[in-house]
Symmetry: C2
Subunit: 383 residues, 2 copies
Amino acid sequence: MRDVSIIGVGQTAVAEHWDRSIRDLSVEAIAAARQDAGSDRVDVLFVGNMLSGELGGQENLATLVADACALLPIEAVKIEAACASGGAALRAACLAVGSGAHDCALVLGVEKMTDHLTDGVTSALALAADADYEAAHGISFAALNALLMRRYMHEHRARHEDFAPFSVNAHRNAARNPRAMYRTPITVDDFVGSPLVADPINILDSAGICDGAAALLVAPSSEARRARRPPVRVTASACATDSLGLAERRDPLVWQGVADSARMAYEQAKVKPKDIDFFEVHDAFTIVSVLTLEACGFADRGSALKLAAEGRIALEGDIPIGTMGGLKGRGHPVGASGAYQLVECVLQLRGEAGEAQVKGASIGMAQSVGGSGSVAVTHILQA
Amino acid sequence: MRDVSIIGVGQTAVAEHWDRSIRDLSVEAIAAARQDAGSDRVDVLFVGNMLSGELGGQENLATLVADACALLPIEAVKIEAACASGGAALRAACLAVGSGAHDCALVLGVEKMTDHLTDGVTSALALAADADYEAAHGISFAALNALLMRRYMHEHRARHEDFAPFSVNAHRNAARNPRAMYRTPITVDDFVGSPLVADPINILDSAGICDGAAALLVAPSSEARRARRPPVRVTASACATDSLGLAERRDPLVWQGVADSARMAYEQAKVKPKDIDFFEVHDAFTIVSVLTLEACGFADRGSALKLAAEGRIALEGDIPIGTMGGLKGRGHPVGASGAYQLVECVLQLRGEAGEAQVKGASIGMAQSVGGSGSVAVTHILQA
């Protein structure tokens, strides 16, 4: 398989884009990525998206995007892996370019959720749970994560406010990202006092519902030097799954699919967790960051809260996470989030992350997770 | 890119499976394919599906299938390209195995539609049209195809009954396929007298709404000889797109994406239309067969009806189509249909198509089309 690199990135601001369609957002992000790469060549398009059918009445989305971006008759398909769709779309591009079938793949993550803020987003998100054994009982994604959080607090004698550093860190980083949705720093008191969503999860434990699109261009590393911007190598691309339903797991606090995906990525890139300079974590809820850091080997079981409390997840810490705000601070347009993480990884590795720059960053990891840790796509990128 | 082959196939009967879930159908088809291959190895799963979110309240479908088939923690994603999803899933498998990243890919096409026969299938199918510029006006897929058929009849001075041979042929072939949904032969009189759906399209112009799952195992050709059954080589795999909306095309009777996809496939396999021994055509409506045969070079513009009238599309003709019944006779579980076509291709090339066997078949073509010809995935398989 050929070595591949990312040669261009683009993104829209993450926001409530009530005046713009999924088509508009896609065109903006793709045009930006193509301009960034300084190349007109595109051979294939992979669109990561979860909810265009449910919320937008639109399947066949990849064809729509190819059409809107004047890319016809390009090969184009949509990749769906719930909230991991954005990461899965880059994985598809790595296979397509790695195989030699194509020399330039375009990856788009896009989601438009806020037109349905009050009539269907929560039930739409439940499509990532097990329809027969979870969603049919009326449980929402916030409720599933609340069960995990409550169990974690019980098992490790933690208090709700111990989770505050994750949210505080995300908002602090988002304030430095002009594309982020929530650019207001918060305090521990803000976190503790924010309205309850599903006990013990409150608003500030939860990533926001929003709209956005992010795009990346992928080429063989051997040809990437011709791009306008410094290419970033994809040194690992790995996907793994776990049971769809939480109740089917031996231990719900062990996210095995997330762990498997990370382990495969470390093996491919020949690195260890300590070699990772920053980690774009899938912080849909604070408990997800905790379980993920433990599953990926950044913290021992039960010790991720300590990692956060000691400030080690901050931009100047030894394992900065959500460096541009993460899902919590930047916003979480579900099927697009994986692509945003990867765009941010590339910006960090090029030294273009502005005020959010992690000093000396040369190895970044991004992990896109779908369902309750039921599918995870991990990429390791290197400058 | 490595040469790849199909080493095992499996399928459920196509029917109204009211007593079985999407999980049940998936498990049956996959178990059959794995038994057929005589191999336990599976490295990655690609699920072709269009409507599990809209009709089943289930996204994250690939993870569900991986879980139900005891394949965890396997890499798994859903591929969506409207009604071309089944063909697109094999395309993804070709890239994954061709790249060298995986040595055995499992392809599943699955769809469960009949639980919503009376409350939503028609609007769900319209998700493949342009939501903003077609579906918003209330036009259904049958209506879009009716516009095409009316225009074709006008331009080529054809009568509705001239389309009968396609439907008669499909039902004749389906009667020989124990997995098909409509196993009753029909006459031209039956065709002419069947109830109107969207003038001039009637019931017997249209493929039926149904449930089903079909699966294939893909391996490098160099290793395929170890399989239990004779491997079938994939000598071409190509995807192309056209505008989503019909109104955006210069000439709606020229299906350019379909033509581009077929042309690329011919180039890859180094064959011409006359070399193809049989063609699994995407006959969702009789007009689709007509436009496809013309776009793919089997008939000149305006002459596909003559091809059918002369019996050349029959099993004993020079270009048999829909040999196991096609979408019309076998049934059209939309996201699964492409996988059914490919399974049937493999059976033909192995000489295992029973009463539907095309004598001496050694090169088969299957084409999976989404939207109004807006995305097409073409595969050429060789014994």
